[in-house]
Amino acid sequence: MELQSLRKQTGWKSILRLAKPLIISGQLLSLGASQFSLVMKEDGLDGSSGTDFPDWPEAPLFIEKHQTGVWRFLRAIGCDSSLADDLTQETFLAVLRKPIEIVNDAASASYLRRVAYHLLVTSKRRNSRTIVTSSMDVFERDWVRWAGEDSGDTAVEALENCFERLTSRAQLALRMRFSEKATREEIAIELGITEHGAKNLMQRAKRLLRDCIEAKLK
């Protein structure tokens, strides 16, 4: 009788949802105490596990090796710093829950980037935003050309060298833009040029940087 009235009020799905705890409790009781013991031990929840990741002891090394690359990739594809932090963690979480077969570092890095990309797409979709790049394949290809197989360390090092070759005005403009988040107007005032001039200056500087880095990476 009660179930019928519940059905009228809430529908079958609700009844099932409401009954879930009872079902679970029944299952729980049927398992018995000894089974619980087994479950806890199997799960490594009894405090007895010796390693952090019993199923994959090399996981910490794997994470250390690929973390920066994943994070940089996410930044490059349009995440801000904190979102990149979050998604990097989510990426490794996904891999830890479903470990992959490691062939080589490049393949692992590529797989991680795929996972990260899909997490980003999911995140953006949930927030009703469009993804910053439409073609993952094209972006992936460009990323590999820039970042290579060392998570982008060589490219960043090249960037530092190339940056020193820019004029002091160009350096100042880029520093203000990326370090102090200054607007074009503020940069223009600081340099005593027009806003359009500041835009051109930074575009030229970045083109020089890009050419310089690509030359170094070849």
Binding site: L45, R75, F178, S179, K206
Partner: protein, 791 residues
């Protein structure tokens, strides 16, 4: 190469290198926690849920509070929005009921039949968080015995052969804590063989607990214990027990660490011995460290060389001289120790008298009692009368007895005399507080925990004023030629005596009616009234004798209150740390208020128990971890360019003594300076300050820098900080003032009263008017005045 993609990549690299962005290291432990299969966790959740039915009802309620728990989980996991994906809908009443019934059924069966049969690893350990309570418990035995008791807050006691959680206190019930996270406060592990071996309970931090890895994520009811507080709440000792110095140091350290941990404040690193002795020398003797002291200290290789050095230095004349000055500053209106002694030989004699009393080991309460009944001639060049009468001459100058009462309330009891003169200060202690009482929020929160006497009301204030009005300070101008101008600048003859025409006193209530003050103390003790007449005595004899008796009673009562003890600790603390443990204006520093209050109470009680042993208290404070913190002195540009959150963190660290504040100015009435500076910087303090690095190419640039880059003093820096992040309580208080349609001058006076209990001077009112005309916004202007005033 696709230009758009390469530009994007280049931009991200530039942001990383130029913006100093780095990837946040992944917390492997957290990751491990999250890798637990949700289905397995669910089973564990259910198991614990069933077992929890044995716990008190208050703890059981945790399980139904999924929403708050899941939001906490998302925060702790640091995954931001992503962690909230799993957030569940709030359960319906049906859901709750069925859930509870199922839990009860499971729990009953487990309790009746299965509990004792469960093997040791059934539930090795777990932690349950909820909106109100947090529970940590462990069962890892074949012979689990569960003992529960509940009195007041829930207490849980479980026992096993390995260890037992002997006591558990739920999260602090601080009402004003805005944080929704409640932390485990105390976990005391008692070895199971403690009775046999006589070993004492061991208090462990959460990190040290044997079930550190008891991690499970279920439906949100069970979480990693890493989410919990890390330190147990220290127990404040009973006032009946006198602690040794090391125990007292430990008490302060424990409370500080608990406070830092609870507020998530990271203390600065400790300083080496060389820095410590230099700091201690300045703070304890008022003098820079001598080479001789430094050498002898460094030559001492003993582990307790700090204690040895403190023992030496606190027995020197320098120590008594310095602490006489600090005590004088504490009990006199306004800080006057900076004035040269030549200008006022009466003050010099007063200080000499105090120094002698301190050297004689006279306790502070005795000194204050002697001061309150003092009479004497303070004429320059004479030594007649009691030198301690100088206190009345300063406090009751011009026979302003209201000011003298404020002085007693503020300087001897640590209360805001200027506020309780017009307002009932404490809604807890005052039963007849009016609903429209202007400033109920002025009450020192938690102050009624030890004694009603800690919170004076307006009627208390005026009753005290009646007692104080028995003092008469007469001033006669002397012939300047008869005064030795080599030794004094004072040409007034001042005499402190008892008021022979002592009479009734009336004060105005909130409803504008006049009421006669009663001759009684705040503890209800009746004193002799001016209208009491005794047979056989002349009126003047009657008055004189009555006043003396009243003042004696006043002294006894005053020095017996916990407020007095705490006030004494507070000024000593302020001298050592540069800022008081608890400011008079509590709205200004609402961070860690309860913890600091508790500590002040405990130290006050201990100070009394030690017969106000100043040497011991100073030594203890100098040995605490808080005194041993490094100074963080950010440059002014940082203050301006940092985010409000960064500023708040910085301020919190300073207020909570997690970094040492070397340059705190206890009372800088710098409104005039700030206003001048404000004007110079083109009517905008924050907008026009040049934060760019100057370009120096020739001498002309130097001149330009001076014009565009104002020199920022420490007072101005603090002004900047306060202007940007005025404490929330203070800000809402200002809004309340503004709604009350007070005159501008009254608003300014209120702002100044908060600083040091005195109204604004004419010059300060003038500066404030200028500030108002510059900002054209009363709220903004009063904020800036407060910013310039509050230490």
């Amino acid at each position: 190469m696709n230009k758009t993609n390469s530009e994007q990549i280049l931009d991200s690299f530039l942001s990383e290198r130029l913006g100093h962005e780095v990837a946040k290291p992944i917390d492997l432990k957290l990751l491990q926690t999250r890798t637990v299969d949700p289905q397995k966790s669910e089973r564990l959740t259910q198991a614990v849920h069933a077992a929890s039915q044995k716990w008190p009802a208050t703890i059981q309620s945790n399980f139904d509070s999924r929403q708050s728990v899941s939001s906490k989980r998302s925060r702790v996991f640091g995954a931001g929005k992503h962690a909230q994906r799993g957030k569940r809908r709030k359960p319906t009443i049906w859901n709750r009921t069925l859930y509870l019934l199922s839990g009860v059924a499971a729990g009953a069966i487990l309790a009746v039949g299965s509990w004792s049969l469960l093997p040791s690893s059934f539930i090795h350990s777990f932690v349950v968080n909820g909106p109100d309570k947090s529970v940590v418990a462990s069962t890892s035995s074949d012979e689990v015995s569960v003992k529960e008791k509940q009195s007041g807050d829930a207490q849980l006691s479980k026992q096993s052969p390995d260890y037992r959680i002997a006591e558990f206190s739920p999260g602090n019930s601080e009402q004003n804590d805005t944080s929704s996270t409640k932390l485990v406060d105390a976990v005391e592990l008692v070895p199971s063989d403690s009775k046999a071996s006589g070993s004492s309970p061991e208090i462990l931090s959460m990190e040290q607990l044997p079930f550190t890895k008891s991690l499970a994520i279920g439906d949100g009811s069970i979480e990693s214990r890493q989410l919990m507080g890390d330190l147990p709440k220290p127990r404040m000792t009973s006032s009946e027990v006198l602690l040794d110095s090391p125990d007292l140091v430990a008490l302060v350290d424990d409370q500080m660490e608990y406070m830092w941990n609870r507020r998530k404040v990271i203390a600065t690193p400790s300083i080496p011995d060389e820095q410590w002795i230099e700091r201690a020398s300045i703070r304890i003797t008022g003098k820079p460290l001598s080479e001789q002291d430094k050498e002898s200290f460094l030559a001492d290789k003993a582990d307790n060389r700090r204690e040895n050095w403190l023992d030496q230095v606190t027995s020197r004349d320098d120590f008594y001289r310095f602490w006489t000055s600090r005590f004088t500053d504490a009990i006199l209106p306004n800080a006057q120790s900076l004035e040269p002694a030549i200008s006022n030989p009466s003050r010099t004699r007063f200080k000499q008298w105090i120094a002698a009393r301190l050297r004689d080991s006279t306790s502070l309460d005795q000194i204050v009692q002697e001061i309150l009944v003092a009479q004497g001639d303070l004429t320059p060049g004479t030594s007649a009368g009691s030198p301690q009468a100088y206190w009345w001459a300063e406090n009751a100058a011009n026979n302003d007895h209201s000011r003298a009462t404020s002085g007693i309330a503020s300087n001897l009891l640590g209360q805001r005399g200027s506020c309780i003169r017009c307002h009932d200060s404490n809604v807890i202690a005052n039963s007849d507080v009016k609903p429209d009482s202007p400033t109920p929020s002025f009450s020192p929160r938690g102050s009624a925990s030890r004694s009603r006497l800690q919170a004076l009301t307006r009627s208390d204030y005026w009753n005290l004023a009646l007692v104080v009005s028995g003092i008469d300070v007469s001033v006669t101008e002397l012939d300047p030629s008869s005064v030795d101008t080599q030794t004094t600048e004072d040409t007034n003859k001042r005499t402190v005596g008892y008021n022979k025409s002592w009479n009734a006193l009336f004060y105005e209530q909130a409803d504008r009616t006049l009421v006669a003050a009663q001759s009684k103390l705040p503890n209800g003790m009746e004193l002799i009234s001016p209208t009491d007449k005794r047979e056989g005595s002349t009126e003047s004899e009657n008055s004189t004798e009555s006043i003396e008796k009243n003042l004696q009673q006043l002294g006894k009562w005053l020095t017996s209150t916990p407020s007095f003890d705490e006030r004494q600790v507070n000024w000593v603390w302020e001298s050592i740390f540069g800022q008081p443990l608890q400011t008079r204006y509590t709205l200004a520093d609402s961070v860690g208020l309860v913890e600091r209050r508790e500590l002040l109470e405990a130290l006050g009680a201990q100070f009394r128990r030690s017969q106000f042993d100043l040497r011991k208290l100073v030594k203890v404070l100098a040995l605490t971890k808080a005194f041993n913190r490094q100074v963080v002195q950010s440059d002014p540009v940082w203050y301006i360019t940092s985010t409000p959150q960064e500023l708040s963190e910085y301020q919190n660290r300073q207020r909570l003594f997690a970094s040492y504040s070397a340059s705190m100015d206890p009372s800088f009435r710098s409104i005039a300076n700030v206003t001048t500076w404000f004007r110079k910087s083109h009517n905008s303090v924050l907008g026009q300050l040049n934060t760019q690095q100057p370009k120096l190419q020739n001498s002309a640039d130097l001149i330009a820098i001076e014009q565009t880059t104002p020199q920022v003093t420490s007072a101005q820096t603090q002004f900047i900080v306060r202007s940007r992040v005025l404490p929330t309580g203070l800000s809402s208080e200002v809004d309340r003032w503004l709604k009350s349609s007070m005159r501008w001058e009254d608003l300014v006076d209120h702002a100044f009263y908060l600083s040091d209990d005195t109204a604004a001077t004419k010059e300060e009112q003038s500066s404030a008017r200028e500030l108002l005309s510059s900002t054209r916004d009363r709220r903004q202007a009063i904020h800036r005045i407060l910013a310039s005033q509050l230490p």
